[in-house]
């Protein structure tokens, strides 16, 4: 029975040890009996927004000594799968951030708690201060579920110095000018005039949308001439060699900024977050000639219609009722005009409330083109089939890539995409979403 003795001894030791561990964990837990509010997001821990939230957390803990704010970082690609798992196990953290295109789906799935009554108590004028697109995105059936605390959109970055060397005084205002200037730049400097990002991800669709929408095209009617013209224009830019074909294989929009910084391209489509990421103040000084203009439009006098980006925070649908008031307290701070202004100055983002947007311009005048465009910027899901938007978006970027690499003509690529998109919906749904997109687009284009 030698073996049996060892086993007994092993089990005994194991039990004693685990009991000891359990007791000590218990003591520690009793010692710091605090209410924990977890804030979960994908903001780079070294970046402005994450640091700002940390500061807010410290301040909040000072005012509420019984509370511990636990700020958790999840990388972008992991956040949605994480929220999915948490929803299944009903462990979604008290305050959960999501990228804005996911929000309508998360609201439908019950991830976020209805905060309409709290907002009413806070003051309805606070809610009305948010720009219309952000209000529409974070609410459903007249109930409010989240606040968008930062936004961004796309504009044309250009290097004044390079344009001047090519004999160009002002940045392009129309597609035609963009093409002509790119040609001049290519001839004079032997570099690319223009770049955008056409990668196989949401970023690819998001950068195509300004061209599509400014020309009056819709994600739900890609087989129409307005849409085909837009892709035709971008394809011509690549085929003519004014835009590098490598744009289909960049790892993201940041790669394009690297080319821009290296003076490999003179103009690029990119977002205002770049001022908090690559184009920080010291880099801007070093380069010395970076400027921004609103995106070129098909014809003079048209409005550039861009999608808006940015992140939303809401309270978890499975929150412990005892913690709800504290979570709302913290969310209210994040959504207040003053906090939003300070956060976005650090983050390089744009505020989503009119009162804060007015003030940020004084601090950062370079944001003017973005703020001008923000007034008419569109929420992607609302003009792209609401909860079917991710599906539509991935169909679109595939079509864009096919055209840019000349696997298919823009017409073929978009006609295929259009019929694939139609199959996602029932006939009724399709009509409804199509008309919804038409209305929002017409409003944004001012027509």
């Amino acid at each position: 029975m030698k073996g049996g003795k060892y086993v007994k001894r092993f089990i005994l030791t194991f039990l004693v040890l685990s009991l000891g561990v359990a007791v000590s964990i218990g003591t520690v837990a009793v010692a710091q009996e605090k209410v924990t509010i977890t804030v979960q997001d994908y903001f780079d821990p070294a970046g402005g927004m994450a640091k700002f939230i940390d500061e807010m957390a410290v301040e909040f803990e000072r005012n509420h000594p019984e509370v511990k704010i636990n700020h958790v970082y999840i990388p972008f690609a992991q956040l949605l799968p994480t929220i999915l798992q948490q929803s299944l196990t009903r462990t979604v953290p008290e305050l959960t951030m999501a990228d804005n295109p996911w929000v309508p789906q998360l609201i439908k799935a019950g991830t976020y708690k209805d905060i309409t009554d709290q907002v009413k108590e806070w003051g309805w004028e606070n809610w009305e201060d948010f720009f219309k697109g952000h209000r529409e995105l974070t609410s459903a059936n007249d109930r409010i579920y989240a606040f968008q605390i930062t936004t961004n959109n796309l504009a044309l970055f250009y290097r004044k110095g390079l344009l001047e060397k090519a004999g160009i005084a002002n940045p392009p205002e129309t597609w035609q000018e963009l093409k002509e200037q790119s040609q001049k730049i290519k001839e004079a400097l032997d570099i690319y005039g223009f770049a955008f990002c056409a990668t196989a991800s949401e970023e690819g669709t998001w950068q195509f949308e300004p061209f599509l929408w400014s020309n009056g095209g819709s994600l739900l009617e890609l087989d129409q001439p307005e849409a085909i013209e837009a892709l035709q224009f971008l394809t011509e830019m690549v085929v003519a060699g004014y835009t590098p074909r490598d744009i289909v294989n960049v790892s993201g929009q940041g790669d394009v900024t690297q080319w821009f910084m290296n003076a490999e391209v003179a103009m690029m489509v990119n977002g205002n977050w770049e001022f908090g990421w690559h184009l920080t103040e010291d880099v801007m000084q070093q380069l010395g000639d970076v400027a921004v203009a609103t995106l070129p439009v098909p014809q003079k006098g048209m409005r550039p219609v861009v999608p808006f980006g940015g992140e939303c925070f809401g309270i978890s649908g499975n929150i412990d009722p005892a913690k709800f008031d504290l979570a709302w307290e913290f969310l209210k701070i994040l959504g207040s005009s003053d906090t939003m202004l300070r956060a976005n100055i650090k983050h390089g983002g744009l505020p989503t409330r009119a009162s804060a947007a007015g003030k940020i311009l004084a601090e950062k005048p370079i944001l003017k083109p973005f703020l001008d465009q923000a007034q008419y910027a569109l929420p992607r899901p609302l003009v792209g089939g609401i909860d079917k938007y991710p599906d539509i978006s991935s169909t679109v970027w595939v079509a864009v890539q096919k055209a840019l690499t000349e696997m298919a003509t823009p017409e073929e690529a978009l006609k295929n995409a259009a019929s694939a998109i139609r199959e996602i919906f029932s006939a009724e749904e399709y009509e409804m979403y199509k008309n919804m997109a038409r209305e929002l687009l017409a409003e944004a284009r001012g027509k």
Binding site: A109, A200, V248, D387, P390, S394, T405, E406, M407
Partner: protein, 310 residues
């Protein structure tokens, strides 16, 4: 991770004979509990769950609310009908067979080369291991730049006037799958080299010496000594290589993300893209089940070749 090769714990049989069966059998069960729990939770459960998902229509919303309807084999039917899937399946076969063939051949000849002594052998041997040591994110990013329109390959070819405009390695319809295969071959050489080299070292030198005396040439030594003696090692190498290659994800995701225009997907990347870009979890799971069947059938095939020889 499963070991479909039927690996048994070494010495298992001997130990049971030295103890009396009566006492050790219960103790034995106790000791396999951790492994059993691990396999059940991280192997069997996900497999079954994945299979169940593949029989349901699961979207983001129905997944969260737990109300996904059963649809039988509809996901499989839709998947198989899909042109993108068909191309992806061909891609996976092409990627796997080319990778295995070239990794093995190159690894084998390197092993033969290193089986004799020459100056700087140690240094060169460690250089060969570099692909294995580098994190895939590094080698993947490197290859993306290497193959891009303005990358190193095109740079060289243009500089030496071999071509007058860049070859679209990863920006065209036909070439991207070959570009990623090439990258994967490079990555897989050290693995093949190490296994085959170790196998080669174990062949008694006397066999070659006596063959030399009998007047065998280089080819005859390879064909009649090295190959037959190495046979079990070769088949194990190929089987493991096959499993590793069919499930490659990261390399392709970093270099092309399955693009441009969906032309360079492997089953793994397509499944990920359907699940997390389109939120078609059901169809994505069906792709994984098909991928798993492919791995298992290829492994069974190679295993049967092995047992035939034994």
């Amino acid at each position: 991770m499963f070991f479909p090769l039927g690996i048994t714990s070494p010495g298992g049989r001997e130990r049971s004979s030295s103890f009396s069966m009566k006492t050790t059998s219960h103790v034995g069960y106790f000791f396999i509990v951790p492994a059993l729990v691990y396999v059940l939770f991280f192997g069997v459960y996900p497999l079954i769950y994945n299979f169940i998902l593949s029989l349901k229509e699961v979207t983001l919303i129905t997944y969260m609310s737990g109300t996904s309807p059963w649809v039988g084999l509809a996901n499989y039917w839709q998947t198989i009908k899909d042109v993108v899937f068909q191309r992806t399946f061909t891609n996976t076969l092409l990627f796997t067979s080319l990778s295995l063939a070239f990794q093995f051949l190159i690894g084998f000849f390197l092993a033969i080369l290193f089986n004799r002594s020459f100056p700087l052998k140690g240094l060169l041997q460690s250089l060969i291991m570099i692909p294995w040591v580098l994190p895939i994110i590094v080698s993947g990013s490197f290859f993306r730049w290497f193959f891009s329109d303005r990358g190193m390959v095109n740079g060289f070819l243009l500089a030496w006037d071999f071509i007058d405009k860049p070859i679209p390695w990863i920006t065209s319809q036909k070439l991207p799958i070959f570009a990623v295969t090439l990258a994967n071959i490079w990555l897989g050489i050290p693995f093949n080299f190490v296994l085959l080299y170790t196998g080669l070292r174990a062949i008694p030198i006397e066999l070659f010496e006596s063959a030399d005396i009998d007047g065998a040439n280089w080819w005859q030594r390879i064909a009649f000594i090295t190959f037959p003696v190495l046979r079990p090692v070769i088949i194990t190498t190929l089987t493991l290589g096959c499993i590793f290659t069919v499930k490659v994800f990261d390399l392709v995701w970093i270099i092309t993300q399955g693009g441009p225009g969906d032309v360079s997907h492997l089953l793994s990347t397509l499944s990920y893209s359907w699940a997390f870009n389109k939120f078609h979890f059901g169809r994505a799971s069906s792709v994984l089940v098909i991928m798993l069947s492919l791995v298992v059938s290829l492994t069974v095939l190679l295993n049967s070749i092995r047992s035939e020889g034994e």
